[in-house]
């Protein structure tokens, strides 16, 4: 029945855009005129996002070490950042990694003494991260933009889960 439509009618269209645009970031092809920025700034920005994700993981680790009782709430959220990091690292353009392709090791983060303080610190870090992602989407290629937008949505969701 044609009148009946799924509530997610655009999924296929979304994917079409996603894949085409993500391929652009790998340097295989180009989509759209004059849209792909030079790899330099994008690699630098990607470095920053990767460092941010690594820092978030370090914060979770510090909090989990200091407050094992929070494991039930935090471990799955931490795992999301591990997945973000893994996918982000796939988006370097081969041969253009003039930046630090491997981010410097994170200094160990400090955990607040109380559980509520620790949750507050993570919530605040997640909020900042989500805000940064929404800003960064303006400065990267469309394919990477979709990925950063999705990561930012996940991080915004984390702030809600920790509220």
């Amino acid at each position: 029945m044609e009148a009946l439509r799924s509530v997610t009618p655009t999924r296929r269209a979304v994917l079409g855009v996603s894949v085409a645009a993500l391929v652009t970031t790998t340097g295989c092809t180009t989509v759209g005129p004059g849209e792909a920025p030079s790899p330099g700034p994008e690699v630098t920005l990607l470095d920053g996002v990767i460092e941010n994700e690594a820092a978030l993981i370090a914060l979770y680790d510090a909090v989990l070490a200091a407050h094992p009782g929070l494991g039930g709430r935090l471990k799955r959220l931490r795992e999301h950042h591990v997945q973000h990091l893994a996918v982000l690292k796939r988006h370097y353009v081969p041969g253009s990694t003039s930046g630090t392709a491997t981010p410097a090791p994170q200094p160990s983060a400090a955990a607040p003494r109380t559980e509520s303080g620790a949750l507050g610190a993570i919530r605040s870090a997640e909020r900042k991260a989500a805000s940064a992602r929404a800003d960064e989407v303006r400065r990267v290629s469309p394919g990477l933009s979709q990925l950063l937008a999705s990561i930012g949505a996940c991080e915004a969701g984390h702030t809600q889960e920790l509220t």
């Binding site: 009946l4 009618p9 269209a13 979304v14 855009v17 933009s145 979709q146 937008a149 996940c154």
Partner: protein, 150 residues
Amino acid sequence: MTTAPETISALQGALAAEHAAIFGYGVLGAHLAGVQRQNATQICDSHRARRDRLRSYVEAGGATPVAASPAYHLPSPVSSPRTAAQLAARLEDGVTAGYAGLAGVADASLRRYAALAMQEATVRAIRWRGSPSAAFPGLTSAALYPRAEK
């Protein structure tokens, strides 16, 4: 103003998702009471505001905005406050996915608009569901592996 066909298509995709959400909230709101019902009403209003904004973007790009369908297949039946909340969460998931295409268009300000809409919808989905979402809201795993071998 000339707008690329890909951008119009992405705007229409987000608009269609907003239409679906507005329809769904209309159905589920009747099964909620008190604060939850107020929340649903407020959220539906913000979906309407985004719908109107998207329509104006499509029109500014020289195209005709997609209309709402007369009926939608709801992904889950509604018969109680619990099932109403479940449906609301799924509607928000659909909205997040609907904006993911717009997050990849050439216009940088539209990308940001889409990214913020995805954040809002993801937060709402978690509020309705009371449980966490995915690592990559709005995207499928296929979109994360652009060079996966076949």
